[in-house]
């Protein structure tokens, strides 16, 4: 019986983990290239969620269509905030960029609050369910998972096959060196920030396909914290690492619940979260480059 529950939760966790992973790639990309930790990460996820919600409820458009729309909105926001704020902070101490990105997040949250309101919203996009022996999966979750993998693959192709992608990788490895070699570092920063934000906003769409309720201006905070753990699992500066970090995180979060629930004196949800932060600390101490890197 426990076995079936565990298998069910692990399946759910794997799928959620894929979406989590995709939702963290932007954070890792931005840190990897610019050295900026985007504390306002969750607010951009929220923008994606609202994009989906409004397209669906106002125009009746499917969340699939929201994906490219969110990418465009995200990239536009990314360029905007890069050239207005971030450009001045790439060489500043961490404190400055942490606080500035936090303020950007707050600005987005409050703007949405004043234009749309603080209601918790949701939408109903029913495209059927698959019933497995161990669990039941709505098709929307499966679409979200497949979408995450496709976007991760596209990013991989962009990195490896395009000129701009190669330049971004060069900057990630050595900022000064890349500058000497004729790469316009400033443009690469702007592009990476925009793509990072674009990915994050897009992940907001996928997250609502997984959990289509609870959409409100302040929904991002929880995802920011999760994204930190996931990013560290993957090595903080590596977008692919982040994707696999997400898968691992999803498995831990859902898989260990059933196990903690066996101990009556524990509150299993809080324990799974405790465990995830414990793992974060251990990795930072033992292997700050993340679980997947050889170095």
């Amino acid at each position: 019986m426990i076995g079936i529950q565990l298998a069910g939760n692990l399946t759910q966790g794997l799928i959620l983990g894929g979406v989590y992973g995709m939702a963290t790639m932007g954070l890792s990309l931005i840190f990897g290239v610019l050295g900026v930790v985007n504390v306002g990460h969750g607010a951009f996820i929220m923008i994606g969620a609202f994009t989906t919600l409004l397209l669906f409820t106002q125009l009746g458009l499917s969340p699939i269509i929201a994906i490219p729309v969110a990418l465009v909105i995200g990239m536009a926001l990314g360029f905007f905030f890069y050239y207005t704020v971030i450009i001045r902070l790439t060489e500043a101490p961490e404190l400055a960029s942490l606080l500035a990105t936090f303020a950007i997040g707050t600005l987005l949250e409050e703007s949405v609050k004043f234009t749309i309101g603080t209601e918790f919203r949701g939408y109903n996009w029913d495209v059927g369910k698959i019933s497995l022996h161990i669990t039941t999966l709505p098709m929307s979750k499966i679409y979200a998972f497949v979408g995450s993998i496709l976007i991760a693959l596209l990013l991989y192709l962009w990195f490896s096959k395009t000129r701009a992608g190669t330049a971004v990788r060069a900057v990630m490895q050595d900022r000064k060196g890349a500058g000497v070699c004729g790469v316009n570092v400033n443009w690469i920063y702007a592009l990476s920030f925009a793509i990072g934000i674009g990915l994050t906003v897009t992940s907001g769409v996928l997250l609502t396909m997984f959990i289509p309720v609870g959409i409100n201006p302040y929904m991002g905070g929880a995802y920011t914290l999760k994204a930190f753990v996931i990013a560290v699992l993957g090595g903080l500066a590596s977008p692919y690492g982040a994707f696999f970090g997400g898968l691992i995180f999803g498995l831990i979060e859902n898989g260990t619940y059933t196990l903690f629930a066996l101990v009556p004196s524990l509150e299993p949800f809080a324990m799974t979260r405790f465990l995830s932060f414990l793992i974060l600390l251990l990795i930072l101490l033992i292997k700050p480059t993340g679980l997947l890197r050889a170095k």
């Binding site: 759910q12 966790g13 603080t118 299993p268």
Partner: protein, 425 residues
């Protein structure tokens, strides 16, 4: 020498006393302060509360002609500040309300936590403190003298639903409890657990989940494995929405699902559509509830305040057209009972007002009001139970307040997806 001292003290007291009484006589307005949660984490419930209060204050001033004190009617002034849902702001704003604005009563901020935050400060200045969004029983176990509860305490939230289900289906035994791990919801859980056991239910699953949860899948998978017939759960709005949605995703079908808070809000239906059919939930108040001057007469208590229709109409003036929910109603009841207490005391002196509260037994649009004289805990107000039936909320319990019959058992999620509605024939 000693005598002289005594004499002067007496004279001083007398003069001072005179000053005080003249002051009391010179009351030209009654002021009610409120550290409102207009922003921050409770912004939603907090805005509702402020609409409700404004509506009832308007009713008092315009329909009732003000507050009757010392033989004449003086206006009721409402002083709200935004506390950002933060405790530092609550204490400092109550300090300001008490001393600068010289309020005669304070409506507590939303939530059990913030109600507790402000209580010692209100207590210090000796100002009647009305809890309109603090349901936890623990607030009233701390010996606060000026705290008064307007709404039903948390432990009674699910009592009506449990009674109702017992009556509807004496054979259903297996009950699952899954509540949010917040002060309020834990109290609800405790009350529900006790009551359900007394009525012979078997608790097959009993678990909490943290605030701000964004995926309940693991808990619900375990819950499904426990094969309950009835589920009681919830906490606040977002988790309730998530709970019902993910039950549908995991295809968990039970005979009845009763959830606190979320079910009663229109946004629940907006977000989940047909999935809400047949779900029940307790409410402090519901539009259409049959509290009326006639009902008051029937029970034999006085009526005060606007009728349900009047209240909703007034509240919409302040909400920009949004329908008030029970957060608005419970908050709106606070100025009503406060004004009644002031009138009864015929004074704005805190101790007299507080004593008047003890004597009060009345009905407003929100329901009945009577408190435990020692603790201030609400004892008479009762919850109603609503059910989503064909896209509308219908009051199904208690029978005397009901506007319709309970639909039981709840349709399965597959049936709901095919368009089956929970309207009883």
């Amino acid at each position: 020498m000693k005598e002289y001292c005594l004499k002067s003290a007496i004279i001083f007291m007398a003069v001072f006393g005179l000053l005080l009484t003249t002051n009391a006589l010179a009351v030209d307005k009654v002021v009610l302060g409120h550290p409102a949660c207009l922003s921050g984490k409770f912004a939603k419930a907090g805005s509702q509360a402020s609409w409700g209060i404004k509506a009832c204050v308007k009713w008092i001033n315009e329909v009732n002609g003000g507050v009757k004190i010392g033989g004449k009617k003086v206006p009721l002034v409402y002083k709200p500040y935004d506390c950002e849902s933060k405790k530092e702001m609550v204490t400092s704003l109550i300090g300001r309300l008490a001393t600068i604005e010289k309020v005669h009563g304070i409506i507590a901020a939303y939530s059990s936590g913030l109600t507790l935050t402000g209580a010692p400060v209100a207590e210090k200045y000796g100002i009647p403190y009305l809890s309109q969004g603090g349901a936890s029983n623990r607030i009233f176990q701390q010996g606060f003298q000026y705290a008064v509860q307007v709404l039903s305490p948390a432990t009674l939230y699910q009592a009506g639903a449990v009674d109702m289900l017992r009556k509807a289906d004496p054979s259903a035994k297996r009950m699952a409890l899954a509540f949010e791990d917040s002060e309020f919801a834990r109290m609800v859980l405790r009350g529900a657990e006790k009551h359900a056991k007394e009525l012979g239910f078997k608790i097959v699953f009993n678990r909490t989940y943290p605030k701000h949860v964004n995926d309940l899948t693991p808990l619900l998978s375990d819950l499904k494995a426990a094969k309950p017939e009835i589920i009681l759960g919830g906490g606040h709005f977002p988790d309730g929405q998530l709970f019902a949605r993910q039950m549908s995703d995991l295809d968990i079908n039970v005979k009845a699902l009763s959830m606190i808070v979320a079910v009663t809000l229109p946004a629940f239906r907006e977000a989940l559509g047909a999935k809400t059919e047949g779900i029940v939930g307790p409410a402090q108040w519901e539009f259409g509830v049959k509290y009326s001057p006639a009902a008051a007469k029937k029970v034999g208590v006085p009526w005060f305040g606007p009728t349900n229709e009047e209240f909703v109409k007034l509240a919409k003036e302040f909400s920009g057209g949004k329908t008030p929910d029970y957060h608005a109603a419970e908050a709106g009841a606070a100025p009503l009972v406060f004004v009644k207490a002031v009138e009864l005391a015929n004074s704005v002196e805190p101790d007299k007002i507080r004593a008047a509260f003890n004597k009060m037994d009345l009905m407003t649009f929100f329901g009945e009001f009577k408190i435990n004289p020692d603790t201030g805990l609400q004892t008479r107000h009762s919850m109603v139970v609503v059910q989503w039936q064909g896209g509308k909320k219908v009051i199904v319990w208690p029978e005397e307040a009901a506007t319709g019959k309970l639909y039981y058992p709840m349709p399965t999620f597959a049936e709901k997806a095919k368009g089956k509605v929970a309207v009883p024939r």
